[in-house]
Symmetry: D3
Subunit: 337 residues, 6 copies
């Protein structure tokens, strides 16, 4: 599986973790997590640039790129406590959406088949289709719930004359049966898209979508608790899809379709942590980090921290499961030392 | 009424709505809302650039410019449910503040006289004087309450040797009787201006100004409720003035006089929505969006969404008034479909 | 021919010229020039964003958008002396390169068939293939010479696994016979691409490529004169392709693949002017203006001026042909008035 | 004490307050506050630029630079109610960390010895060591509590082979005895540094560090109240150290080591105010404002406002102490006028 | 003469030279040069921001702000060899063009009357009218030639309904008789403004305008020599007006109306030097530096260097006149030492 | 030799060339060129950020990072025709200038001792001292000529109280005898530093410094020819030092001390090529690329191309020496294929 990722910068791994080669399954047979770049932005309806997302998310950190990140909050070092490998970037090409999606799905499916959790660095949100499908091919169509942070529902039908694009992956996933509509939990929607026809379709699928007004009125914590209960009902795993535009443009300017009025970065990090700590996450993606529109790299930093927060929570969940303990968010930092 | 707006970019309408010509009253006789650009920044005390505000607010959106924006939260499509027209830009010239204010007041007055709600895209805050005066000429001097979101009181007397400028419009409005001092509700003030003399004058006018400390201490919701009660007391309509610098510079960097510690974009959108849903708004303005200091267009996006939020709430208010129903902010997005 | 261009901003015309609809041939039957946007950047190998090129090139000007631009240097007002219409943007989609190229070629061919000169605003350089092919369909395969300003030869074979992309259009044009290899004049090449194999292919096609070293050593004027002689030999028209990256990144930072050491903006404008004045240009394109990487809009300004310079020279060429006069570049501005 | 500060811009004072010369103690004998620039960024581990912090913090304000700033919230004009002088910048040199720290410590000690409160404008956080030591030399080693707002604990041991740098000052202060470990209150920590070994050391020193998770879970107000009680226990004064990166990168992008998920600017301003109103602050610093990474000057604005908020609260504390009154944050702005 | 300049930043002088007060003529009675800021941008037709020009030009330099700048090329230290004072900023207000122009003219006239050379830092080009008029009031109407570097002729009649603005000062100067039309030398014009009517008026005034095409064809040196001969014919002094947009946008992006295809910074500096060395310059201005559109401060640096180059050449001219020597541009730097 | 370079980004090599370890001499025994990063900016007098130079220069390229760069102009593939290795970054620390210089000198000396040409990526210009000294330790003190492209002479004595810094390396080199003063060729000097005293010292050392005025007057080609003759006289090798600020800020904005009026990027590339083709270069450095002040990466691109141009010319020089041929800059690109 040759790589085009180097087209978009040097061939590096996420914060210096060890690399693996998807063509050599032995190399990642015992991995807990395999990171994969999907530098595809040919499905963006507006501002492009997410092709540079994988590179930016991998390297935007002021700490040494040494494959270690001890979480203050969760008291784990996910990059060490878990076996985390980076498989590099999938070969994609903006001008060929079908071919790109096939290549991504195949790569994700290989990772999932190995038993590792694929962590996909986008790229635009088009890749949710191959990402979640690749996971579902291993865990079973309809057996995975989706927790989806986003300003947009991404349930469009045909856009720009095409079935595929960053506004449609969630519909395609439901249509194919990869994910059940009634196990789709959307958090952070807002703004002026989609219109009634698509919303009707979504209702018909029994999706559960939390628009920001409901979130502000009821509180994010309560909404998440409710969503998690649905996600856990009759499912074998959870796929977590994080579109960075779920955050307010003030916290995530470097993205393609910014929608004012979103979550703060703090809220997103806490929600990602909680999702990965409380639910059996079997795959995840962070998408729509678009460096050309970023400044002072703040969106790339956020993307990097979303990955670390997720991995740390997964590591802590596993440790607590083994120990029979439970993480206490109110515990002072230096307590217990 | 020839236009100079094209000086500051192409001749476009707000998100593609139909255009009208203020010199042809028949063309907007049945309008619910008429949008007007006031590309004037000759009254700015510090960073200029708000002249490009109307152009930026009109076109900064990642969705098609097709004259339709269905609100997820409010379940209306304001640009279609209301008849919204765009009259283009008033002829103004930074170097001639008096002439510019006259032209703006006249344009706003024509719109108000037609029965439509003028929605003015600034421009710096100097334009609040002609905007609110133009509305008061129709609804009656002293008959309109003012709800004013801003970091600054804008009640200066003489600045730079002049009566007019972006720090003084509110004083001029009270002095002329266009708006009663005791029907002036200011939300979001903070920082180090104005000094005691001006504050004493404001107190003498019985203005009600909510500084951020009070807002944080009591809660924005409670402050708004209190303010609305005052606004509704013995008035025939409400004028809504939104200075984008009421938001924190992190959420609205593209403005002339940024003051740290403001509202989040989410808070502003919710407050604008609530104002337009609960009060009889007869005119509104969004001012001080200064594109030269914006990045990734996030302030322009916010300005665009403030307009849409206001229009959507007005549309919903009218529909609910007709239906006898009431909007429920806790209703899940897909409920009732 | 519905348009998606509004996806990337408001629906405007080049500096306010009249619009036409490609589906209504009568509307542009008498046009001298038809401007067409091709907001396609799905073929970019590196920094995307050229999809916003048509919008930026159309509106980046500090003068009124009034459909008039009297050239100081050439003493014509091209937008008035010629009948210049704007047909808007072709429907393209980054994710579908084949479909996009077909749509562009068809649109250009319609314009060429009408007798007008198509002026295509890119978009990435992939569009040179449909642009020049569309023109050749009218003027005859092999009957048009190509004058090509660029840092890159764009003669790659397969890139990213595809025949089409912004590094290959020139090869495809020669292979199809649309343009003869020995009527291909390339000016401004430099840097480290392509490698020997492709250069051998180019030599085999008898292309004439002026690398910057030759240009600096011999002088741009002499190189152009030599190139023009080749272009005029046994041809019925000339297609002018201007990739803005032919200029030094200091003069054109807003582009996808900047290569240091290029022409100055002054040199490019003079060369474009001379090309359009001395040669029978029957079509032209300006590509690779990528606004996300621009600052202070200087690359967009340059793109706008390349179009105006070309149109002014065409207008002057026609006038001089009619008058039997010849333009004198040394004539003082106010002489003859 | 000659100055190099002019190397980094013109020789100005904070918002136009009077200047003093540290070599002339009579000139600041009666000062309440002396501002000092420490334009040193040789201890930064990542993005440099804080050397321009003093200049930016001093001049970034849209109001006249007239040495007056009446606080709306606190009803004092700190720059007038207190005698505030600006001593300019200490001579520092990025390449010589030891020499720079000596010079800063000496300058701060002189100010503290005069009885004035030193307000140090950084510079990177390395300067906390000389700043707090200089204060402790006057007030007594171990007699000053530290309230420390930061994303990072800054308790590293050896970094880059050195004892000094922006990640280590707090350890050095405890080791020297200048500040007791159990009087160290850290607020806003988060992310992935330091690791267990350093955390163990911190615990051993009985530091109290509030990580963001605890802050979010318990509430910032409650955490501050608890911290203040510790700070007041058996101490003669409080040193306040504000690293602007305690704020979220969305609110403070212009800094060297941004860590997503921090406080909002509003939270920081309120916390600084409360610290200076409720505690006997005898010295303070604002550090890590790095203009090269700022945009629209929003981080510089925040730095300027942190200083003003602190000074205003100190002024109000003194007035209330004299009056026997107490500030009411819920009091409406115009009440009592 | 109170100052508003501090509104736009701290109260500083050009690179640290001594200050003077225009209300105290004794203070500048023996000055050779008095620098004056005119932070007015109310006459800008497009991008504003030149109000911050004086502040930026004064302080943008990486060398110590110590009132000394020894020129490598000219072997003088203009800030020391000449007595150069800075009178601060004139009170202006964007919204009041007439009042602002009066204030500027009066200030310049005072300086000229003292026998010093006024060096005015703009501001937009509107100020050329009061600047040159103020000089002419001392040296005599019609007795001063104008050497004018600009992309634009600035000879408009009525723009935006007004006589005054940054596109008209040169016409007003000729109409008033302050400067003779046939002693007007314009260098660097290009682009698409003004139209034939204005050009005819210019020709009628016998202005001599060098468009870039003539400059490229004949060479800048030859054009300057020709222009200088005209300027020296029957005149008592020369006024030098430098609009930074005479440079290519690549070299001067921070300006209001950038026009591609201009001079390089090197060419401008050499031309300014030569003008001030060869001609009896009695006043000069540098205008249209607009910091909001600058990046990395490169336009502000250029503005600062234009002033230094002019002052250095004036100093050298005076020294050579005294010595009877002549500067040799080909002399190696270290020769003669 | 452990590395801190990863502190400033991921651990990558120049465009993907093979890496080597300076502690393992066998690994680079047969290298022609060894690239070394010196991410030190503790000696910068003004804008810092050059610490990120090595990382930026290594990775800023739109072509695949595949260790191959066939030069169009020179017809060699330097990264393949030569054995080019990358040894990573030297451990440096901004706060410790002496220690950093020692580490750099030692690393360069090791490379030189191996027979390879060291190519040092700065970092600020302070590193010229250890770079050239390290080379001289191998080739002999006084046996190497220096060709130095720069806006500044860098011959200061004591700055900021120190002997070392980016304004002094050239003096230190002459004082130590590493490089003879009369074999110092400086090209591109300009502006207002240093003053007479330092210039006198330079003259006393018989340095040859080409200020831009001489270069413009005589022509760069002639000046270079003259300089080369001096450089070749009684020397065993040439050290090439390129400070990117020799270019005009329009072409190289991302630098610490920009000085308007410099070379174009084209001129610099041609001069670097010619230097490396005509002279026996035994070491070289590219310094002062400061990414925080860059935009659209244009300065980083230029830095990358300076390295490639130098290496390509070295490769061609060797090939021509072996072949007895000579490169012809006027040869058309496709000739001889």
């Amino acid at each position: 599986m040759s790589r085009y990722g180097q087209m978009f910068g040097p061939d590096i791994t996420f914060l210096g973790v060890e690399r693996c080669d998807l063509d050599d399954p032995a190399g990642y047979a015992d991995a807990d997590v395999v990171i994969l770049g999907a530098p595809f932005d040919g499905g963006t309806s507006h501002r492009p640039g997410a092709r540079f997302g994988p590179n930016a998310i991998r390297q935007t950190c002021y700490l040494p790129h040494d494959g270690s990140r001890p979480s203050l909050a969760l008291r784990v070092d996910a990059l060490k406590d878990l076996r985390v490998l980076d498989a590099g970037d999938v070969e994609t090409y903006a001008g060929d959406i079908e071919g790109s999606l096939r290549a991504i799905e195949d790569a994700v499916a290989r990772i999932a088949a190995s038993g590792a959790i694929p962590v996909v660095l986008g790229g635009d949100h088009t890749i949710a289709l191959p990402d979640a499908t690749g996971v579902a091919r291993h865990h079973g169509f309809g057996r995975i719930s989706m927790v989806h942070f986003d300003a947009h529902a991404d349930t469009g039908d045909i856009e720009f004359g095409h079935l595929h694009g960053h506004g449609q992956p969630m519909r395609r996933l439901i249509e194919s049966g990869a994910v059940r509509g009634d196990r789709f939990l959307q958090i952070g929607l807002r703004g002026y898209w989609p219109g009634p026809e698509i919303l009707d379709w979504m209702a018909g699928q029994r999706m559960r979508s939390y628009e920001m007004t409901e979130i502000v009125t009821r509180g994010l914590d309560e909404c998440l608790a409710e969503a998690y209960a649905i996600a856990l009902d009759d499912c074998d795993g959870v796929y977590l899809s994080v579109d960075v535009d779920v955050c307010d443009p003030g916290h995530a300017p470097g993205t393609g379709t910014p929608e004012p009025g979103g979550l703060s970065a703090r809220q997103l990090l806490d929600a990602v942590r909680r999702t990965c700590y409380e639910l059996p996450v079997v795959g995840l993606e962070i998408v729509e980090v678009a460096p050309p529109y970023d400044h002072a790299d703040i969106t790339a930093y956020l993307g990097n921290r979303v990955v670390l927060e997720a991995l740390s929570a997964i590591a802590r969940r596993r440790r607590d499961a083994a120990d029979g303990t439970r993480w206490d968010p109110a515990q002072p930092l230096l307590d217990g030392r």
